[in-house]
Amino acid sequence: MITMSDTVKKIEKLGTEITKQIDEGKEPNYSIPVRSLGNVYYDKVSKTIKLGDKESKRHFLNIGHARKFMQTILVASEVKNLIKHGATTSIRDLYYALKHTIEGTKENVFEDQSESDPLIEDLEASLGLLREELHLTASTKGIIAGKMTVKDGKDTIDLARMGSGGWGVPSNVEPEKIEIKDLDAEYVLFIEKDAVWKRFNEDQFWKKHKCIIITGKGQPARAERRLVQRLNKEYKLPVYALMDADPWGMYIYSVIKQGSISLSYSEEKLATPDTKYLGLMISDVDKYKIPSNVTIKLNLQDIKRIKEMKEYPWFKKDKGWQKEFDLMKQRNYKLELEALSRKGIRFITEEYLPHKIETRDFLG
């Protein structure tokens, strides 16, 4: 673990490198790792996406870079301030703390939070620090339920007694913040959609099937992924993903399993390569006799995404996935989890899922 003063030193170094350039009369610039498809690779050892070593320079005197340069320096200075005062703040608070109008202009240093968020990621990547180490938190939206007790600061929380809403996953789930105490589950079910998660919670699926159910309400935030990774690594629980049978759902699965390009610098701490894809699959339509009138026609974007995903290294070598993608393209339709309700409201929890797990009918 990096100590607080190490973090401060790393941030200060960014400042001193730039002041050195200024003292030498050079045009100020700093390097950041390139966070794009061209600079990430699949690491066979960790089985996650990793950031390559390509760097790009951001120049203050390049009119296209100047604003971001200025903003990055401001973000860095505010982060230093936070750490020095031992405070933690959300990335939204950081945005508001920094936001002001540039003297003599009508221009704000940040017009929108979408300007400051990626710079925080840049800073994390270039300093090799985690967001938590920068004393920053992102807002979370994930919920979790199951036979599990956690200690969050002084509070002990029983996740089997959280009612219909479940427990909201906090942004920092590192072991020193969240201690997992009693765990009585055989697997983790990572559900794409909030509505489907609620069906599973209402039916107390986790009780009957001894599992933990979690959703990130769409694309999950870091905290949900980190918590699932901990359950997998520390408690050896298998992780199953339940997604829509469409390119977006499959992409979310891919992020849970291998990570995303924009966070490629810290995927080792976020991704869960053991995750299995339980469903929904296009091949389930025949297998479970799902009426074809609940399918949705693919759009051009979908077809483009399928083509791209077929080429992802972890999908490319998997015959099951290649077949699934080909079938989706051939049938030219996609399928939502809710479509299973056509077969009865509890079909998904009482027939579909148990059968899937029992027959180990999933993709890797």
Binding site: T19, P28, F69, M70
Partner: protein, 557 residues
């Protein structure tokens, strides 16, 4: 052909009556337009007279309000004056001017101008015009009317004045006319006259007692215009028929050789080879309409010498540039003279254009905003009316200004000037305010304007570039303050010191950039703007500014 004989061929008694009833043919209609036309006619006569006599013109114009729609106009020049025995006839007899039916480049074209104004004064006020004419020495004063039944001058009072004066001074009263702030008033007319006649000094006092002085910007005396014989390619059947009355005994060939420019035996032979009769044998009186038709067709197919081009008197690029700089003070100016050429096979023409941007260029609207202004000239005389019907307007409208980086041209502070010089301006009507849409003329105007438009496009793109550069510096300097603040928090360094150092770095960087650009600039800028040849002639694609110009027609009707 003598003008006396020609005018005699009209029934004299009907001439004055006819024009009295058909004022619009003279442009003497509409309350604003009439007053502007009066000034225009008097001033044109003065300028033409000075030019023929080789005098640098100094013209004083005054409009004095006498009552509602009632004004007195004074025009005083320093020209050669009119000999005492001819003053009455020159000014008091319609169609009796010295210029009628001559092929000579003058501003006015027919001898109806000044006398038409005197007639207008007479029919609206019942008063004579007061004329002073001096040719050196003691001048003659007279009060002049026109006998509209006989088309003869009627001199009411005549006396010699007791001082020396050379020139013509006219004082006429008018009713049923009006003066207003307008792009079609006398001020605008005189301003444009000064622009196109840089050798003239014009002093003008408007009805509100404001005085404007347009000093001459060049001391040159323009060439004296030469009279030329008409070119045979311009002849029409109707004109041949008319000429037959005065030249009945001449053969057709004889008439051609004597009355037309550059017709020799070779041309006659070539014409004859296309005919079933011999024009060297047939006299004018013996030839009928059909024969004349055949002759005209044969001339069309015959190769003739091009007309002489040295008869034209353009403003000339350098003088036009001087006058525009002085009067409009533009930020950018492009002046261009095309080489003389011919239209209709026989009439020499020359086109001059200018594009002025910024400064006092463009028409100023009531809210002080500027919009595009088109200044049309024929033989250096401004054309203020009938813009929509004019070939110059159509030529301007047919240009794809956007191709030259000129977007939204209607709302630019831009003055476009076009001057057509010719011994025979093809006016669309006797009001002499619109030029016919002759293909060769329109094409010449287009070519000249496209070249000028390209230079303006380049200027504006350079200007935008400069503005961007200034903006860039501003952005860097503003951000530098923020960067210094951030660095101060990160490193505890002094903020002021960092700002100063950053400013030096910014300045150095932009200087280097500029040096690099200067080396490359020529190639880049040339590439941005299309060449003449690329401009499509398609009329469908033109910028939609037609409406604007057509709306700029006569306001006061």
């Amino acid at each position: 052909m003598s003008e006396d004989k020609f005018s005699a061929s009209f029934k004299e008694s009907s001439v004055a009556e006819f024009f009295k009833r058909n004022r619009q043919m003279l442009g003497l209609y509409g309350k604003l337009r009439s007053l502007t036309t009066v000034i225009a006619e008097y001033v044109c006569n003065s300028l033409d007279a000075c030019e023929e006599a080789g005098i640098l013109p100094e013209i004083i114009v005054k409009i004095i309000p006498l009552g509602e729609e009632h004004y007195e106009v004074h025009v005083i020049d320093n020209g050669p004056g009119i000999p005492k025995d001819k003053v009455g006839k020159a000014l008091g007899k319609l169609l009796a001017g010295t210029k009628f039916h001559r092929l000579i480049q003058t501003r006015g074209q027919q001898g109806i101008g000044a006398s038409g104004c005197i007639l207008l004064s007479q029919v609206t006020t019942g008063k004579p015009s007061k004329i002073i004419s001096g040719t050196g020495g003691k001048p003659l004063y007279m009060e002049l009317e026109i006998d509209t039944a006989k088309n003869e001058p009627k001199i009411k009072l005549q006396k010699e004045l007791d001082y020396d004066y050379r020139g013509i001074a006219v004082k006429s009263e008018f009713k049923e006319v009006n003066y207003q702030n307008s792009s079609q008033n006398a001020l605008e007319y005189l301003k444009r006259t000064a622009i196109a006649n840089p050798h003239a000094t014009i002093k003008y006092t408007d009805p509100f007692n404001n005085t404007y002085i347009f000093e001459r910007s060049s001391g040159y005396i323009p060439k004296t215009p030469k009279e030329i014989k008409p070119h045979i390619k311009c002849i029409t059947v109707d004109e041949l028929k008319t000429l037959a009355k005065d030249h009945s005994k001449k053969t057709i060939a004889g008439l051609f050789k004597q009355e037309f420019d550059r017709v020799g035996d070779k041309v006659i032979k070539d014409i004859n080879s296309l005919l079933d009769f011999d024009i060297s044998k047939v006299t004018m009186s013996k030839a009928n309409w059909e024969m004349f038709e055949k002759v005209v067709k044969a001339i069309d197919k015959t190769k003739t010498f091009a007309p002489r081009l040295d008869t034209l008197i353009p403003i000339e690029e350098k003088y036009l540039e001087e006058s525009l700089r002085k009067i409009i003070k533009p930020e950018f100016l492009s002046v261009l003279s095309r080489k003389p050429t011919v239209y209709h096979g026989g009439y020499p023409i020359q086109i001059e254009v200018a594009i002025a941007y910024g400064g006092d260029a463009g028409q100023t609207l009531a809210n002080n905003e500027k919009k595009l202004e088109l200044m049309r000239f024929a033989n250096r005389a401004p054309l203020l009316f009938d813009a929509g019907a004019c070939g110059i307007t159509k030529a301007v409208n047919s240009i794809e200004w956007r191709r030259y980086g000129l977007k939204d041209i209607e709302n630019l502070p831009l003055s476009i000037l076009v001057n057509l010089s010719s011994v025979h301006i093809p006016y669309t009507s006797a009001g002499k305010q619109a030029i016919a849409e002759e293909e060769e003329i329109v094409e010449e105007i287009r070519k000249a304007l496209m070249t000028a438009a390209r230079s303006l496009g380049l200027h504006l793109s350079k200007k935008r570039h400069l503005e961007t550069k200034m903006k860039k510096r501003g952005i860097f300097l503003n951000y530098a303050k923020e960067v210094a603040e951030g660095l101060h928090l990160l490193t505890d360094r002094n903020k002021k010191e960092l700002i100063d150092k950053l400013e030096d770095i910014i300045t150095k960087k932009l200087q280097i950039e500029e040096m690099n650009e200067q080396e490359e600039s020529e190639d880049i800028s040339e590439g941005e703007i299309p060449e003449d040849a690329e401009e499509k002639k398609s009329k469908g694609k033109k910028d939609k500014i037609t409406d604007y110009f057509e709306a700029d027609g006569d306001h006061d009707e």
